[in-house]
Each structure stands twice: as structure tokens, then as C-alpha cells.
């Protein structure tokens, strides 16, 4: 982290960048917040550790409108989102100085809480340079430990790899964290009966409070005005008055980002109700891969997106239900 901080200081000092987009230390051991740093002095609060899960590429939409370059810290998975945003002309490459930061898997405080660890005072082992396999957590109710891997975000268990897809400079080492297949959960649901599928999604989605955190954090959801914010649209965005509305919202949202979703996992990370929203996006990704050929959004900035492309031999919609 020191290396990253020093580099940020240098770039600010020599005028290469006007500001640094990174994370500011929180007031609890696990809540650093995305922040801009404009002076070398302000960098004293800069932090980069296991709890810096936020994907900063979306903040670059706003930063692209500012004067001068912004140094942005992107983890390997975030660079996919940046590429995708570039492809959609939502961010300006010229305005970004991309520091590809190392990542050894990001932590999910909810997963730590799920293990019954509460009233947290201090966490050791979350630093980016720590080689620790376990977190030592000091709480009001005594010292607890938790395996690093058990506290990792879901998305890190199916990590796309440690390679940055776009960067100006790499700082720090990354680690492979994948230990599961990305499509296992989707395949398990596909194997259920229609009644089971319906019951599963009904149960998960009935928790939805329509806070829109999934949409607002999503780098692919970059519309200036969302259809669900339109006052002319009678399923307003504010509440699920009927159970239909939560399905409508999540299906349409997932569809709207289909072929553009890089599977960065932010939607599932931010959901206050822990709804596994990635299951929608991954279903589309899986279908696209199977029907139209392997495609990874954000891999590059050139390839045509699957839903703005076609072949004469594409499968007919009747294939649904016929596949094994």
C-alpha cells in the first residue's frame, strides 16, 4: 500500500494527475469509502486493503467530466468494467491514469458477521501485503479468527484472473483466488423443477426493498435516466407493491445489462438484503456463451456485443426448454 501511496503522491506532485480516486480510511476497521484526493496532504487518509471492494470504474464517468486527469485505482476485475465503459463512450481514456492495483481477494463484512463475529474493534490480516491466511479479529466479546477465504466476497471465489485488462501502470501483486466454477450455482438452479425455481426466486426477491443500490452501483447501468425512475412509468421504482414488480425490476435490469455485464459482482456485494443478484446476470452470460459463443464483456474494447450482433444460424427461441 505504501508503494501505491507514494506513487499517488508523485503523480500529484509532478502534475500528471489532478486527483487520485481511491479509498479513504474508515472510522471502523472495515469501512473505507471511495474518495478523491486532490492534495498530497490529503493522501494521509488514503488506504488500500481487503475491504476496498468497491469498483471505482463507475466513478470515472463523473471524473471524466472534470478538468485534468484522474489517477484511478482499479483491481483486475474492475478493469473489465472500465473497458466496457470505454466501449460505450461513457468514460474518457484520456482523462484516466489507471493504476492497476494488486488484489488477493476482497473481504465481505457480512460474511464475517454471518460467522457470529460482532462488536468488532480491530481486524488484523486484511492488509494488502499481509500474507495471512486468517484474519485475527478483536471484538468486545473476545478475540476471534476467521479464514481469509471464508470472509471473501462471492465474486472472488469465481475470480476472472489476476490480469489487468487495461492500465497505465501496475502496482502490487495479485493472487488467484478462484476455487469454484462460475456457473455452478446457475446450473444448480437450471436443474430444478419450475416449481422449485419459482419458489427459490420468490423467496430471494421478496426481500428486495427496491433501494436501487444494485442499479446505482452497477458500472453497466450508466443510463442518464433509468426507465424505473421515469414518473410516466407506472411501476415506479420506490416499492414492490405487488410481487410482480420485484421480478419485473430485476429481470429487466439484468436484461438491460446482458452482454454488457462483466460479472463484476458489485450488485451482490451491495445488496442490503443479501439477494444473490449475480445469478440473473450469470444466467444471461451462460446462455450467451452456450448459444452464441464464449464472450466476456470488457475483455477488450473492440468486439461486438452479443445482443447487437447475430448470425443467420442462431438458435430459435423454441430452444428454451429443449436444452438438457
Amino acid at each position: 500500500m505504501q508503494e501505491l501511496k507514494d506513487r499517488a503522491r508523485e503523480l500529484l506532485a509532478d502534475g500528471t494527475v489532478k486527483r487520485v480516486l481511491g479509498w479513504k480510511i474508515g472510522d471502523l476497521p472495515y469501512n473505507p469509502e471511495p474518495a478523491y484526493f486532490e492534495t498530497e496532504e490529503s493522501l494521509k487518509d488514503f488506504v488500500y486493503n481487503g475491504f476496498c471492494g468497491a469498483n471505482l470504474s463507475k466513478y470515472m464517468i463523473e471524473a471524466s467530466k472534470l478538468d485534468g486527469k484522474t489517477m484511478v485505482c482499479l483491481k483486475p476485475c474492475d478493469t473489465y468494467s472500465f473497458n466496457q465503459l470505454m466501449k460505450e463512450h461513457r468514460v474518457d481514456r484520456e482523462k484516466a491514469y489507471i493504476a492497476g492495483v494488486g488484489c488477493k481477494g476482497k473481504l465481505d463484512i457480512e460474511k464475517i458477521r454471518k460467522q457470529g463475529i460482532k462488536a468488532i474493534e480491530r481486524i488484523e490480516g486484511a492488509g494488502i501485503c499481509d500474507e495471512a491466511e486468517t484474519l485475527k479479529i478483536q471484538t468486545v466479546y473476545g478475540e476471534k479468527t476467521c479464514a481469509y477465504a471464508d470472509a471473501m466476497l462471492e465474486r472472488c471465489h469465481v475470480c476472472k484472473g489476476k490480469e489487468h485488462k487495461i492500465y497505465d501502470e501496475l502496482i502490487g501483486e495479485s493472487k488467484e483466488t478462484a476455487d469454484a466454477d462460475r456457473f455452478d450455482e446457475v446450473a444448480a438452479i437450471e436443474a430444478m423443477s419450475p416449481e422449485e425455481k419459482f419458489a427459490f426466486f420468490q423467496k430471494e426477491l421478496s426481500k428486495c426493498i427496491r433501494c436501487n443500490a444494485c442499479r446505482n452501483v452497477c458500472p453497466a447501468c450508466s443510463c442518464r435516466k433509468c426507465v424505473f425512475d421515469s414518473t410516466k412509468f407506472d411501476s415506479s421504482q420506490k416499492a414492490n407493491v405487488d410481487s410482480f414488480e420485484e421480478k419485473m425490476f430485476h429481470i429487466i435490469r439484468a436484461f438491460h445489462v446482458a452482454g454488457r455485464c462483466t460479472d463484476c459482482g458489485e450488485c451482490s456485494r451491495v445488496c442490503p438484503q443479501g439477494i444473490p443478484l449475480h445469478l440473473f446476470n450469470r444466467k444471461f452470460i451462460k446462455d450467451i456463451n452456450e448459444l452464441y459463443g464464449e464472450y466476456q464483456a470488457g475483455e477488450d474494447t473492440g468486439a461486438k456485443a452479443p445482443l447487437t450482433d447475430y448470425t443467420f444460424e442462431d438458435a430459435e427461441p423454441s430452444i428454451v426448454g429443449k436444452r438438457g
Binding site: 419459482f198 446462455d287 443467420f312 423454441s318
Partner: protein
Amino acid sequence: MSIEKKEFRPKIVAFCCNWCSYAGADLAGSSRLGYPADVKIIRVPCSCRVNPMFILRAFEKGADGVIMCGCHPGDCHYSTGNYYARRRMTLLFSMLDYIGVENGRTRVEWVSAAEGVKFSDTMNEFVEKIYSLGENVRLGDLRCRS
């Protein structure tokens, strides 16, 4: 016809493209080929105009089945519209299947302006299917039912 069938009259929405399928429906009519009155046709400029939200919206407002008809692939008035529509509908239907909506409730059929018979057969078959599936309870807004 059984008693149950008399009680349940499905609502079926058919999105038909202006250039082929709507003309196909016309031909079915002028050829005096029947299809059930449960089918309500909505004319769209091209099958590609059908936004996935239209399909969900139809279900929300009480449709029991939604069918989309367009020109045969290769015959689109706008050259390629139906190719895009085909991918979209495939993915959408797959998603509906994934969340547990019976997959017989949605269908895509390519009907040209000369295929009045196909139009009528398709609609008869689809309506029959929806009769067998019964009322749509998984994808509707309850407020529209009362």
C-alpha cells in the same frame, strides 16, 4: 369442450410485425380461417420493436400467454430486425424459464404475409397450449386481477 375450459378464458397477446405477420393475420381472415378470439393482436413495425418489457408488461396486466410473430429470418423488411429479435427473445424466454415461469406461455413464430394458414394454425395451437397451462399466476400483478 369441458366445463373447466368454459370457465377459463385466457388472454393472449400476439405481437405481430406490420410487414409479414400482421398481413398473414389479414390473409387468415380474408381466407376465412378461424383463430380464437382470445388472441389480441398488437401491431408493431418490426419484431425487433418488441422490447422485453412489453412481454413482461403484458403478463403484468393479465395476459396468460404472449406470442411474437415476425417475418421469417432473412425476409425482414428492415433486413436484419428479426435476427436481433431472435436473440433477445431466446434470452428472455430462457430467463423466464429460469425463474420458474412455465415456458409454454411464451412463443415466437415466423409468419409471412402469404401464410394465413400458418397464422391460424399457430394461434389455435398456442391457445390450446395456454388452455392446458391454465391461468398465469406466476407473472401477473394481483391488482389487475380484482
